[in-house]
């Protein structure tokens, strides 16, 4: 379980997060939703420690991440996997080297064992015969899947996904969403997905946190989100033609 308690974050004079408190449960796909600029990416970066919080704390299963020193954080981060918006694959390495990178860095397993693990996670994300391809030779969806494979290579306890569907067609988005959900349930990990895609919310949103203008606004799940009387959330959820028709 990951908890954010009263998190505030400011950039210059601009207050991006205002005392946000929320919790993300284990074995569930937890979604953070909100409009562009609402502060959801900043919240996620605060949770993983890429941004230092100005106030409040982040707790990973009763471990206070905010107060940890550099070494303790480094150790905890080996339990974290993250899927970035663009995949963030290392351009100078091929697919196999990308997925093997965390294994090379943090384990002393023999080479063939590491290769077995790489092939296993690549198969898990439904990728075959791509080991020797460079990231520039992959499609957007394949890049995301390789990034997921790299994120799960070390058997993480926590998986963060920053807008996993951005730049993908609806069908590929669905494949990525279900892959994230399957992995979450299969390995019983805490997954946090940052999105503004309503398809994702309705298909994999076991728990949904709505952020509005840097403030925690609503928390529920995919079944309650369509029936809420929260005006701001309704404006966000039913803001598109498709979802407004769905409501009607």
């Amino acid at each position: 379980m990951i908890e954010g308690r009263n998190i505030s974050k400011k950039f210059g004079d601009h207050q991006v997060l205002k005392r946000v408190s929320c919790s993300f449960e284990k074995g569930k796909t937890n979604l953070i939703i909100g409009q562009s600029g609402s502060g959801k990416t900043v919240l996620m970066k605060c949770l993983v420690g890429l941004f230092e919080v100005d106030e409040g704390m982040v707790v990973y299963d009763d471990r206070n991440f905010t107060q940890m020193n550099f070494e303790a954080r480094k150790k905890l981060r080996q339990e974290i996997g993250m899927l970035f918006q663009g995949g963030a694959l290392f351009d100078s390495m091929n697919v196999e080297q990308n997925v093997m990178f965390p294994l090379n860095m943090f384990t002393s397993r023999p080479e063939d064992e590491k290769l077995d693990r790489v092939n296993f996670v690549l198969n898990r994300v439904n990728l075959e015969n791509v080991n020797k391809l460079m990231p520039s030779e992959l499609s957007g969806g394949m890049r995301k899947r390789v990034a997921i494979a790299r994120a799960i290579a070390m058997n993480p306890q926590y998986l963060f996904c920053d807008e996993p569907n951005s730049g993908l067609d609806p069908q590929t988005s669905g494949v990525i969403d279900h892959l994230i959900q399957e992995i979450t349930q299969e390995y019983n990990i805490t997954t946090i997905v940052n999105t503004h895609d309503m398809n994702s919310v309705l298909s994999i949103g076991d728990s949904v946190v709505f952020i509005y203008q840097g403030e925690f606004w609503w928390q529920g799940d995919k079944s309650t989100i369509l029936h809420t009387d929260n005006q701001k959330l309704n404006d966000f959820v039913f803001g598109t033609e498709l979802t407004s028709r769905l409501k009607k």
């Binding site: 993983v48 420690g49 890429l50 954080r73 480094k74 150790k75 905890l76 981060r77 080996q78 974290i80 996997g81 993250m82 970035f84 918006q85 663009g86 963030a88 694959l89 290392f90 351009d91 990178f101 965390p102 090379n104 860095m105 943090f106 070390m154 963060f160």
Partner: protein, 302 residues
């Protein structure tokens, strides 16, 4: 209240450089314009003062960030085996891939120094062996360590800054941090180590080629005989000059790789900012090399 047009007309001879038509008809409007100009002038001086203050703050902030980054860079590599692999890769990409340009510039630089010296020796009292001597001294003391380092600041510096900058804007550095890797150490330390190790080799190579270029130019032009040139090369040779040149080179190699690494690592934004970081890396590395050249020359040769 009087109209300025009337006043100027009374003195006007028709050859005035001020066109009367350009003056406003209304004197009040003229006053307003002058007042606006005064305000504008005050604002500009304010902006200048502010930008100067802001610039100084930025300089000190950058120096502070640079020192803090170097603290992160100079820590024990997480996996020694990976560090050695990267070091070999960087020695190849930063050093060996620069051999061509270093060779080309060194040969021509040595040739030009020799030709200029030969043409400027007018007095029959000065032996022609001085051409070899001057070429050797110029190439070893200044041209190879400083000029080649400036060339490397352009080639290697822009490469380092753009490579790390691109990794920053495409979140590859964030990915490293999330995995628990000390990204500054992982990315910059092998580059600094490789530069410090390989640049002296490049400079020794450059010295040899510079002198060879000088000899070739003299032989081809017939200005100085081979015997005179070689005799000049051997006159009063002190091994300390090589030590001096290589010490400077090590400092310059550190400056190039660390400053370029810093600007790349601190990139924030997109492709435009990567380009800007690359330019800044070359400019600031070159300026720092020139400044340190003066300081090191003073320290090592006095």
């Amino acid at each position: 209240m009087f109209a300025p047009n009337t006043l100027i007309n009374s003195y006007g001879s028709g050859k005035s450089t001020i066109k009367l038509n350009s003056l406003p008809d209304d004197w009040l409007a003229c006053q307003t314009r002058i007042r606006n100009l005064m305000i504008l002038k005050r604002q500009f001086s304010g902006i200048w003062y502010f930008s100067k203050k802001h610039y100084m703050l930025k300089v000190f902030s950058n120096i502070g960030n640079y020192v803090m980054l170097m603290q992160k860079v100079f820590s024990r590599p997480q996996k020694r085996q990976i560090f050695w692999k990267q070091l070999i890769h960087e020695i190849n990409s930063l050093g060996l891939e620069s051999l061509g340009i270093v060779a080309f510039i060194s040969v021509f630089m040595g040739a030009v120094v020799a030709i200029q010296t030969a043409y400027n020796i007018d007095s029959p009292l000065i032996p022609m062996s001085m051409v070899g001597f001057t070429t050797r001294q110029s190439v070893i003391l200044e041209f190879s360590p400083t000029v080649i380092s400036l060339i490397l600041a352009g080639k290697v510096g822009s490469r380092i800054a753009s490579e790390i900058g691109t990794m920053r804007v495409t979140e590859q550095i964030d990915a490293l941090e999330i995995m628990g890797v000390n990204s500054a150490n992982y990315l910059i330390f092998p580059k600094i180590t490789a530069s410090v190790l390989i640049n002296p080799v490049l400079i020794v190579f450059s010295m040899w080629l510079g002198i060879l270029g000088g000899w070739f130019a003299m032989s081809a032009s017939g200005l100085v005989s081979t015997n005179d040139f070689i005799e000049g090369i051997r006159i009063d040779f002190e091994g300390y000059t090589i030590f001096y040149a290589l010490t400077k080179t090590v400092f310059f190699a550190f400056i190039i790789s660390s400053i370029s690494g810093f600007f790349g690592y601190m990139t924030n934004g997109g492709a435009l900012e990567v380009g800007q970081a690359s330019t800044k890396a070359v400019v600031f590395s070159s300026i720092t090399i020139i400044l340190f050249n003066l300081v090191l020359t003073q320290l090592l040769l006095t």
